[in-house]
Subunit: 186 residues, 2 copies
């Protein structure tokens, strides 16, 4: 397993190791010990799986307020997505900056999104499955979102003019009026 | 989430709850709290993902000896398998008995295989993906297998005369000469 730093502190790309043989392949998509050997102490307690039928479906930008903030380990197991994380930690030198990359069933990359970030993705193919692990349970009362095309964030989504959104994400607030309670701890 | 008993004690079928909308669907494939509410206290630390290209690929029967015995939460996320668990716990009233069921990307069922069971599956379609969670790390020194067509176990595999096996599983021992160190605790 490889852990690769990004330009945003605490946001990592994970590349698992795949074993092939005449039957097919096998890989450990998560291994707590391997993470701890790299200094990442996490306690995942929920796994999620979503399916998006159409290309251009955008789920995001989502986060849960503290104390229910979630670390997310995201991967795409069918199709292709552009996955995005945004630093929302007060006092962070990269507050408001975003990082995005393609995750696919083929590249088997994962994005480890720390607490205090918003997260979202857009599907770049049809029939997309995304799976992710979280270390705090889903809490609708702490669930918040920011509009995908917020002008301050200026995320460079791969060109899709009118993405398919949930009713909730259609009317998400802008960053300027979003409720935030995260602190950068250095 | 539904938890359904089988004829073998401690072996359960899990049925998650799926939420559909105009984008596609979403479900929690695992939720530690939901398991604990049903009295199942587990601590999963590794996730595995395998791909089998051909129909008739048989992976099994596998287990890890104590103290590295694994609880496994198994699901099929692409294609169709017949999944089997065998009770190998000394003193169990159902020692040597097997239970099998179809798991597929469509039925979204999961099998919760307790410590002290052997586990295996045969693919009933091409291009099969199986994912499972375990509560002890992989330990090659404790890894053991039993031959899939052991005459005492007499597993009623869906008719495939010559399954595709790994080199290791080709030469697996029979139950009679297998090393076992599990105790049924009631
Ligand atoms: C997030 C979540 C939703 N649900 C339910 C609530 C709804 O009925 C249905 C769909 O919920 P939505 O919030 O619309 O799903 P969504 O796919 O838009 O939300 C997800 O988007 C990802 C980009 C984020 O990283 C995730 O944290 C999550 O917010 O699933 C759960 O049961 N558990 C969960 O953990
Ligand atoms: C099981 C396992 C294998 N591996 C490696 C070792 C090999 O290089 C490669 C394939 O290993 P194999 O044991 O041949 O894979 P397999 O798919 O035949 O084994 C699996 O079969 C399931 C039915 C059982 O429930 C599992 O517990 C496991 O035994 O993957 C890991 O890195 N971690 C693991 O946890």
């Amino acid at each position: 397993m490889k852990i690769i730093e990004t330009k945003l502190k605490d946001l990592y790309i994970i590349e698992p190791t795949k074993h092939g043989d005449h039957r097919g392949w096998f890989y450990e998509s998560y291994n707590k010990q391997a993470f701890e050997e790299k200094g990442l102490y996490l306690n995942f307690i929920q796994d999620n799986h979503s399916f998006s039928a159409a290309k251009g479906t955008l789920r995001g930008l989502h986060y849960q307020l503290a104390p229910k903030a979630q670390t997310k380990l995201v991967r795409c197991t069918k199709g292709l997505i552009f996955d995005v994380a945004v630093d929302l930690r007060d006092g962070s030198p990269t507050f408001g900056e975003w990082y995005g990359l393609e995750l696919s069933a083929l590249n088997q990359k994962q994005l480890l999104v720390p607490k205090g970030f918003a997260h979202g993705f857009i599907t770049l193919s049809e029939n997309v499955e995304v799976q992710y692990k979280v270390d705090e349970l889903y809490s609708p009362e702490h669930d918040r979102n920011i509009i995908w095309n917020d002008s301050t964030l200026a995320i460079d989504w791969p060109t899709i003019d009118t993405p398919i959104l949930s009713a909730k994400d259609e009317k998400a607030p802008e960053l300027a009026s979003a409720e935030l309670n995260f602190t950068f701890t250095g």
